[in-house]
């Protein structure tokens, strides 16, 4: 038994004497558990607001009141665009939905409320990756429109009264009844205090629900009405990013092993500049990353129906930027790492954190709002967002610019630190 205890003591001693491995064994589960626990705990905390882009093409008092009511909704973060193009652009880059109030909205809605006139059609575009926001947007829109109509200081009522009086489709008795009703409503409105801003809550809006003074034309933001969101698009982006980063870690460990085996010294003895030595490493890692990405997306496209609905050039540029990012990430690990064994553990934890924060496992839009903000500091978030934008979101080349710029910024930062900290001599 002494021998067994001696062997056990040896194992325990070796394990606990390796501080880095110890930290990884303890810190990794704590961090991952904290991440997922934080996501579920977020249900009890303040939910993040839904970003909505609004275009008011009508510019009437009533439409302005709708916009004001939408901005007052506590569940929405409303950004108003000056025209359709600007709002569409804002909606594409930052918003989860967009609402367009058409010309004639204010004039049509009063009659539509009580008469037989055609209802104005509000264009509602929404992010298909977040189906849970659609009823929320519908409810907020309905509440805002109805509040503007009934609590809007009488402008809508007055306009509707005037329209009803000259509407040839209405019988005279019907016109008189409506005029009396409008007068009664105006009298009631004038005698009660202003109501507080209402929450959209779960008030559902049905596109064809009778009694609503408007209709909505709902389309997915990414792909247009005829195309549908595929979860595979996001999943392949996330897993591609994760495992290519792991490849970058492997390349870093390979460099540390080269040091240990004397190969690095041997290469340094050759007539090569430091730029050539490190540059070749970055280039080869980036090429490997691109090849892996190519195989992953070929499979995704041919087997799982993933499509590059947006800019193909943008998609390629995002892939290249992430490949360079992976290469610089690997170089940074190699520069900061000491032994291959300890570095592998720490780098794996760092990679897992990056991919979690980037939304590779759980889409970032389900993060609590603070975590969504924090995750913007993770380059993986930009990689995944960029790939999402170019694939199933169907965004144009311009939407790739910011993710690519951020990734190249991280690439430069990682490279500078790596070169600064790189140990040339053993």
């Amino acid at each position: 038994m002494n021998a067994v205890f001696a062997l056990m003591r040896k194992d325990l001693r070796l394990f606990f004497s390796n501080r880095r491995s110890l930290v990884v064994s303890i810190v990794a589960p704590i961090l991952i558990a904290a991440f997922f626990g934080g996501l579920s705990a977020a249900e009890d905390s303040t939910p993040s607001k839904v970003a909505v882009g609004v275009v008011d093409e009508d510019r009437t008092p009533l439409s302005r009141q709708v916009v004001v009511a939408l901005k007052a909704d506590p569940n929405l973060e409303v950004t108003e665009g000056p025209d359709a193009n600007a709002a569409a652009s804002a909606a594409d880059s930052i918003s989860r939905a967009s609402i367009k109030l058409p010309r004639g909205f204010g004039a049509q809605i009063g009659l539509a409320l009580f008469g037989n006139s055609a209802k104005p059609q509000i264009e509602l575009r929404w992010d298909p990756s977040q189906p849970m926001i659609l009823p929320l947007i519908r409810g907020a829109l309905t509440a805002s429109v109805m509040r503007a109509v009934f609590d809007g200081g009488g402008a809508a009522m007055s306009a509707a009264r005037g329209q009803a009086a000259v509407d040839n489709t209405l019988a005279d008795q019907r016109k008189r009844d409506l005029a009396a009703m409008f007068d009664a409503i105006a009298k009631v409105q004038g005698s009660r205090p202003a109501a507080p801003a209402a929450s959209a809550g779960n008030a559902g809006v049905d596109q064809g629900q009778p009694g609503m003074p408007f209709t909505t034309r709902e389309t997915q933001m990414s792909t247009g009405a005829a195309m549908h969101y595929s979860g595979y698009g996001h999943a392949f982006a996330g897993m591609g990013v994760q495992f290519i980063l792991f490849m970058g870690v492997d390349m870093a460990i390979g460099l540390l092993l080269m040091r240990r085996l004397g190969l690095w010294t041997r290469l340094r003895a050759a007539p090569l500049s430091r730029r050539a030595l490190l540059g070749s490493r970055i280039a080869s890692t980036a090429v490997i990353a691109l090849i892996i990405f190519g195989i992953i997306y070929t499979t995704a496209i041919s087997v799982f129906g993933v499509r590059v609905e947006g800019s193909v050039v943008g998609f390629a540029v995002v892939l290249m930027a992430f490949a360079l990012l992976t290469a610089s990430f690997g170089l940074l690990i190699a520069a900061l790492g000491r032994t291959p064994e300890a570095t592998r553990g720490l780098a794996t934890v760092a990679t897992l954190l990056l991919v979690m924060l980037g939304g590779a496992w759980v889409p970032s839009f389900v993060f609590p709002s603070w975590l969504q903000t924090v995750s913007l500091a993770a380059p993986t978030r930009w990689a995944i967002d960029g790939l999402d934008a170019m694939t199933w979101r169907g965004q144009p080349l311009e939407a790739a610019v910011l993710p690519v710029a951020v990734m190249l910024g991280f690439t430069a930062l990682f490279s500078v630190v790596a070169v600064w900290r790189f140990r040339w001599e053993e």
């Binding site: 085996l261 004397g262 190969l263 010294t265 041997r266 290469l267 340094r268 003895a269 050759a270 007539p271 090569l272 001599e425």
Partner: protein
């Protein structure tokens, strides 16, 4: 030495307060093998590092065929072939691919690189294993491939850092044969080793380092003469010896440096066995001493090494 291919002069290197190399100078001519010896921590690896351009010296200079590291770094490095102590091989690349890689790193033209790779593989006896991966090689084969990688660009100087560590006698002899061929081809070779018999067999001149300094240098014969006992005669005799009288008579013989008697055993240090042995035996016979056994010996490089570096353990 006027035809020095490698010229190291006044090399110094310190790491913090520790002086690793302190004013080391030596040269190597074309077609010469210089053995660089020293105990652990003597400064051999740092010296090799500075000569190969891996470690920048704090002071001093190195030139190869006139090119200095400071002025012509790449030209300087191209003229050196480094055989590191570690097996610097890509185990998962075939042997020929390893050599071609190093050839490309040293600017060997692509046209002819494959042929050159096969040429050096043939030289080290691995031509038939060109497509095999080093992972499948024996230790000796890997050592030979390690040398081949350093030869592919036809360097003027070959630095060999313990190239026979852990190989069997057959591979060791094969490596020695390779080095002899290179020497005859006019290459300048620097050879570090802990095996004294290797240095004795190969080296034309020997540089012994200790505590970062050159403590002895010269041909093996010159180094042996540094010892009090270059050659020796050991005589076992029957019966007791008139110790004082015999010792006095022995030390009076021309060529005898020293003599000691320990019971039935007489130890005599000589300058030249061939010239003095007869005089010694005649004297002992004349004094009626019956010689039961005579044995002669020569000083070894290890004796010189231990003499100049001491017997204290180095860690």
């Amino acid at each position: 030495m006027d035809n020095k291919v490698l010229d190291a002069s006044g090399l110094r290197k310190s790491y913090g307060a520790r002086m690793a190399v302190d004013g080391v100078s030596f040269g190597v001519a074309a077609g010469e093998i210089v053995g660089l010896l020293g105990p652990n921590g003597a400064g051999k690896s740092t010296t090799i590092g500075m000569i190969s351009g891996l470690t920048p010296p704090d002071a001093g200079s190195v030139s190869v065929s006139g090119a200095t590291l400071a002025a012509h770094e790449f030209l300087f490095k191209r003229r050196i072939g480094l055989v590191p102590q570690e097996l610097a091989l890509f185990e998962e690349l075939p042997a020929a691919a390893n050599i071609e890689l190093f050839g490309a790193l040293y600017d060997v033209p692509r046209r002819g690189l494959k042929a050159r790779a096969m040429e050096v593989l043939d030289m080290v006896g691995l031509a038939d294993r060109a497509r095999d991966k080093p992972a499948t090689f024996s230790g000796g084969m890997k050592r030979r491939l390690n040398i081949a990688c350093a030869l592919v660009h036809d360097p003027d100087v070959l630095l060999l850092d313990e190239p026979t560590a852990g190989v069997d006698p057959q591979s060791r002899n094969a490596i020695f044969d390779n080095l002899e061929v290179l020497k005859r081809a006019g290459k300048a070779l620097v050879y570090t080793t802990h095996y004294m018999e290797e240095a004795e067999r190969l080296a034309d001149r020997i540089v012994i380092l200790d505590h970062g300094r050159v403590v002895a240098t010269g041909t093996p014969a010159e180094l042996y003469r540094m010892l009090p006992t270059a050659q020796s005669l050991h005589v076992e005799v029957d019966g007791l010896v008139d110790e004082a009288g015999v010792l006095a008579a022995l030390q009076a013989i021309d060529g005898v440096r020293r003599a000691t008697i320990d019971g039935h055993r007489i130890e005599i240090a000589l300058d030249d066995l061939a010239r003095t042995t007869a005089s010694v035996t005649q004297l002992l016979t004349a004094r009626g001493i019956v010689m039961r056994h005579i044995n002669s010996g020569r000083a070894k490089l290890e004796d010189v090494f231990l003499s100049v570096t001491g017997r204290q353990l180095r860690d």
